[in-house]
Amino acid sequence: MKLAYWPGCVSRGFTSELHGSMALVAERLGIELVELDRANCCGAGVIAEHNQELADTLNARTFALAQETGLAMMNICSTCQGAQSECQQRLDADSSYRAHINEVLSGQGLAYEKGKDGFTNKNFLWVLVEDYGLDQLAAKVQRPLSGLRVGPFYGCYVVRPKERLGYDEFPERDLYLEKVIEALGGEVVEYDGARKCCGFPVITMNRETSLRQSGTHVGDAIDAGADCLVTPCPLCHLNLDMQQPEAAKVVNRDLGLAVLHLPQLVGLALGYEPKQLGMSKHIASTGLVEERLAGVPA
């Protein structure tokens, strides 16, 4: 399997362990990634909020760069998925609007073509389940995550709005994390916050609201017996992990729950060591996860 790969900004910034672990995991899964190193930020909804045409043109440029490779596109960030899907929905809806946007790109020798070579842009989570296959994933597992209790945390941008995100065709996309956890041999922990908002988008605007959201979800997962959370979104990771000590103050309770990036969880099952996957960089200790897996030989 060969894919055009958009890592996004945050996976190369504050969560560089995500980009690193994705590279390792892709290698062991036999997925070849062609990185789109000339592509730009998706705008995270912020640019669209300011000037929709600007956001649509910037993302059309990324899609056009991906289409140049002739490959399907993969991202590793729920927020990229949501922001890019929003622009793609508008671009795909109307040929004259698409032509209008492509006029700007034509100066750069680029064009976005609807459905070219069956073009898709999917988060790693969707690729794993829909294209790679859970059976094939399970067959690659070298260290089953047995005994590890994992709470899924999706990130809003891959679960809503359903109509935009392909749920008509793939109605179980909001159950994929559970399926992956099970395929890796782990145990799914059900708790209230799995499909709720981490609060990241308002961290600089209403810190209290933001941290109450992340603190509540982490607390609920702890109460439900989770050893860790797993998320396909690095922005959720920032609010759930990096801000966790601050969130604990807002919700006024002890927290301390590891939050893994999806490729890290997959990587552990594929036999990589926590340190190789950058887990030592996390703010919330991953010690409990390592302890649970210590008894399982890689």
């Binding site: 504050f14 909804g45 809503r160 709005p161 559970e178 609201t209 959201q213 990096m242």
Partner: protein
């Protein structure tokens, strides 16, 4: 006809007891609604089961409720689809709704054991009885908060106002609201901050901000941008978009309010405008996000040149220091580009110039493509429609 189990969250204040779950068996066609099911249970099993409803056709907006955890109208959700949603993950069993202490027991539908359809009153609102909520403090009070009437120039004209039809198109989406409260029920910002003005009221606010007859546009925007529970308190979770039975997409209306506030140059104490302006400037210069610069510029724009951060901005910047120190300690933020604003690299090999060219073009072009109004083209006709066409 099929049999369905409705598991209803009940609350009877006069009993002095807390809320409890009760199951009802109903026997109806899958194409009939969850509300029809509730009314059959009320008719056949328990007349005290309380629900608010009127038109049964998604027009009056009375029967807002949660079905399988999703906020919606009871009359617009078909029993068949609700049953399917409840059983999408049969083998592992979906999480019980908040407040329930047991797994949903197997009920029966279509002759086989199945998860029941879970019906609850709307969220983010006090419950009066069973499925009836008190919408006064959480919905109507907030609607009144945004001055939901026209504030026109001078005295009204002798006859009707005359406006270009095109100038009203932009607000037709927000005008479609039927005040059912499903978006308020689903709002994840309001769950964390009950003071948030919320999706319904802010969508209503846009209905007047976007109205060419209204003369208080800037005042309205200033008010909603300055309120700590206003337009910058929306956490962008899309819940209201999925919940709305009329396609109002309240979150999109909130983003339009933010866009208009930006266009009016309204500075706010919530760092909303600064954050947006900083983000956009950084992508123009660097192509990808310089997180260190975003943090600095969101709170204290132009710190290198003319320093004029507000008190709340300084507090915000100082408040983020412990997080940065922790990130430094673990190695998460130990590179120069993560610590020093502006060190982050540009895109390689002329790619940054391409991004800049897009920005330059966008300064003159701000087309807003509204799918609600324009709809999708290029839709292949359904096979049966095609046959009719060729016949």
């Amino acid at each position: 006809m099929a049999e369905y189990t409705l598991k209803v969250r009940r609350y009877q204040p006069e009993s002095g007891e807390g809320p409890y779950w009760e199951e009802f068996q109903v026997d109806l066609d899958p194409s009939l609604s969850v509300l029809d099911g509730i009314l059959q249970a009320k008719d056949r099993d328990d007349g005290s089961l309380a629900v608010r409803c009127s038109c049964r056709a998604a027009i009056c907006g009375s029967c807002g409720m949660k079905v399988n955890g999703s906020s919606t109208l009871g009359c617009k959700t078909m029993l068949g689809e609700a049953h399917e949603a409840a059983n999408r993950r049969r083998e592992a069993d979906a999480a019980p709704p908040r407040g329930s202490d047991e797994q949903p027991p197997p009920g029966s539908a279509n002759g086989s054991a199945a998860n029941p359809i879970v019906v609850e009153p709307m969220g983010n609102m006090p419950v009066i009885k069973d499925l009836i909520t008190d919408m006064e403090s959480t919905h109507w009070e907030k609607i009144r908060r945004v001055t939901p009437w026209l504030l026109p120039h001078g005295n009204p004209p002798e006859r009707e106002y005359v406006v270009e039809p095109e100038s009203m198109i932009d607000i037709t989406q927000s005008m479609a609201c039927i005040q059912c409260g499903a978006c308020v029920s689903s709002c994840l910002s309001m769950e964390a901050d009950p003071g948030f003005i919320g999706p319904a009221a802010l969508a209503k606010a846009y209905r007047f901000v976007g109205d060419p007859r209204d003369a208080e546009t800037k005042e309205r925007l200033h008010d909603l941008a300055h309120d700590p529970h206003g337009i910058y308190d929306c956490t962008h979770c899309f819940s209201c978009i999925d919940a709305c039975p009329k396609g109002v997409a309240p979150m999109d209306q909130i983003m339009r309010l933010r866009r208009k506030a930006g266009e009016e140059g309204i500075e706010d104490p919530n760092n909303g405008h600064n954050h947006e302006a900083a983000f956009i400037k950084i992508i123009e210069k660097k192509g990808t996000l310089d997180e260190a610069l975003l943090l600095q510029e969101s709170y204290a724009p132009g710190v290198k040149g003319k320093l004029k951060p507000t008190k709340s901005a300084i507090k915000g910047l100082l408040g983020s220091i412990p997080t940065v120190i922790r990130a430094f300690k673990t190695g998460k933020a130990r590179s120069l580009s993560k610590l020093i604003p502006g060190v982050h690299p540009k895109l390689p090999d002329g790619a940054q110039d391409e991004v800049k060219a897009i920005y330059a073009h966008a300064e003159e072009h701000r087309e807003e493509f509204n799918l609600y109004i324009k709809g999708e083209e290029d839709v292949e006709p359904e096979p049966d429609e095609r046959e009719v066409e060729t016949a």
